[in-house]
């Protein structure tokens, strides 16, 4: 007849000995104290688990201080990025990243050259209007309202030459002809 004392532990009982669901393991079955086979089963499972746990501990402890420093630095860098928009909003500067604009501008040579041409043209037009507006007597503040292009012949000539040279560059480079208005092509 099998009593509690001579009955081997069931697999569930073996696992329960090593991984108790409660804070403290239940009372040791009296059979376990006397049965070498059951003791070996419990010991084998416990050993494998402790080895696994030890391996995890070992790996974590073996990591060098530089690893932790690097991890900290990475976190703090990211956090800096997280709070940067807050700071920039309060100071009212840098709505866009300069790096992004630069990269976009120079990613395509065609865009860069055409942007340069447009910028030069804009400078020329502004110069024409400004020189044209300061020459005549009267109120100096009326530069934009005074279309006196012919009042400054030397300045106009220089600007005209500049504009023509830009047109020439655009015409000589077939790749840029699509940027010009229809009547110039």
């Amino acid at each position: 007849m099998k009593t509690e004392e001579n009955r081997h532990l069931t697999p569930d009982e073996v696992v329960e000995r090593v991984f108790p669901a409660d804070e403290k393991p239940g009372a040791v079955p009296s059979h376990l104290a006397a049965c070498a086979s059951c003791q070996a089963k419990v010991a084998r499972l416990r050993e494998a688990w402790l080895l696994d746990r030890g391996a995890v501990d070992g790996i974590v402890e073996a990591l060098p201080e530089t690893f932790w420093e690097g991890q900290r630095a990475a976190v703090l860098r990211t956090i800096e990025g997280v709070s940067a928009p807050e700071r920039s909003r309060t100071s009212g500067i840098r709505p866009f990243s300069a790096a992004v604009r630069t990269n976009r501008l120079f990613r395509h040579p065609l865009l860069a050259v055409s942007s340069l041409a447009a910028a030069l043209a804009l400078v020329a037009v502004v110069s024409v209007l400004r020189f044209g507006g300061t020459e005549p007597a009267g109120k100096g503040s009326s530069a934009m309202a005074t279309p006196a292009v012919s009042a400054a012949p030397s300045g106009d000539q220089a600007d005209e030459e500049l504009l023509l040279s830009i047109d020439r560059i655009l015409l000589e480079e077939p790749a840029y002809t699509s940027l010009l208005p229809d009547e110039t092509t």
Binding site: P11, D52, R53, V56, V75
Partner: protein, 204 residues
């Protein structure tokens, strides 16, 4: 008992200190957050590594945890310790990661099949310690099956099991970190143990 009181005092003192540090961070002294990273990074990494078994993933996840904690610092009520709160963030992050990767990665895959325990395991931590070839082989096999059993658990069960049996946290601590009640935690532990038993049955 004096020891317990002093331990509890130390815990409360630390909690109070951390609460004041968080208030300072929220007031703009953001550099003070380094204290939290320095103090808890190893514990969070260890938990993440135990659950994921991949150092790179554990590293990335640990960083994410602190960034998320920083972002949500204003929502941190201070009722629990920062560590508990960070642990909860870590568990949720692991759960999300495991769910995303479920069809592809398993503990078994990460740990390697057959006789290998996984490439990331340094030789000195290998369970095959040379005491006896048969014993080593058996230890390796049981270890592999423990890992396989863990992968069959839901992320929450896995987290509960690891916190209890790898991190030696109390049921109350697990409850605080997971938001589960004692009965549910014990149920998870019981199911985890049962799956473990199923995996190990033929070895007995």
């Amino acid at each position: 008992m004096p020891v317990e009181i002093s331990g509890e005092d130390a815990r409360l003192e630390r909690q109070e200190f951390e609460r004041s540090e968080i208030a300072k961070i929220l007031a703009g002294e953001t550099d003070r957050f380094e204290y939290f990273v320095r103090t808890y990074q190893k514990r969070i990494f260890r938990l993440a590594y135990t659950l994921l078994r991949d150092p790179a993933e554990a590293d990335g996840l640990t960083q994410d945890v602190f960034v998320k904690a920083y972002r949500g610092l204003a929502d941190f009520k201070g009722d629990a310790a920062f560590e508990t709160w960070a642990t909860r963030i870590a568990i949720n992050a692991v759960r999300d990661l495991v769910r995303r990767k479920k069809p592809v990665v398993s503990f078994g895959d990460l740990r390697g099949d057959g006789e290998e325990d996984g490439p990331e395991l340094p030789a000195r931590f290998d369970p095959a310690d040379g005491t006896s070839p048969e014993r080593d082989l058996m230890a390796r096999e049981i270890r592999r099956r423990i890992a396989d059993a863990l992968v069959t658990l839901s992320p929450r069960q896995r987290a509960v099991f690891v916190m209890k049996h790898y991190e030696e946290r109390s049921i109350a601590e697990i409850g605080a970190a997971t938001g589960l009640d004692e009965g549910t935690i014990k149920s998870h532990l019981f199911r985890a143990a049962r799956k473990l038993r199923e995996r190990l049955e033929d070895l007995r």
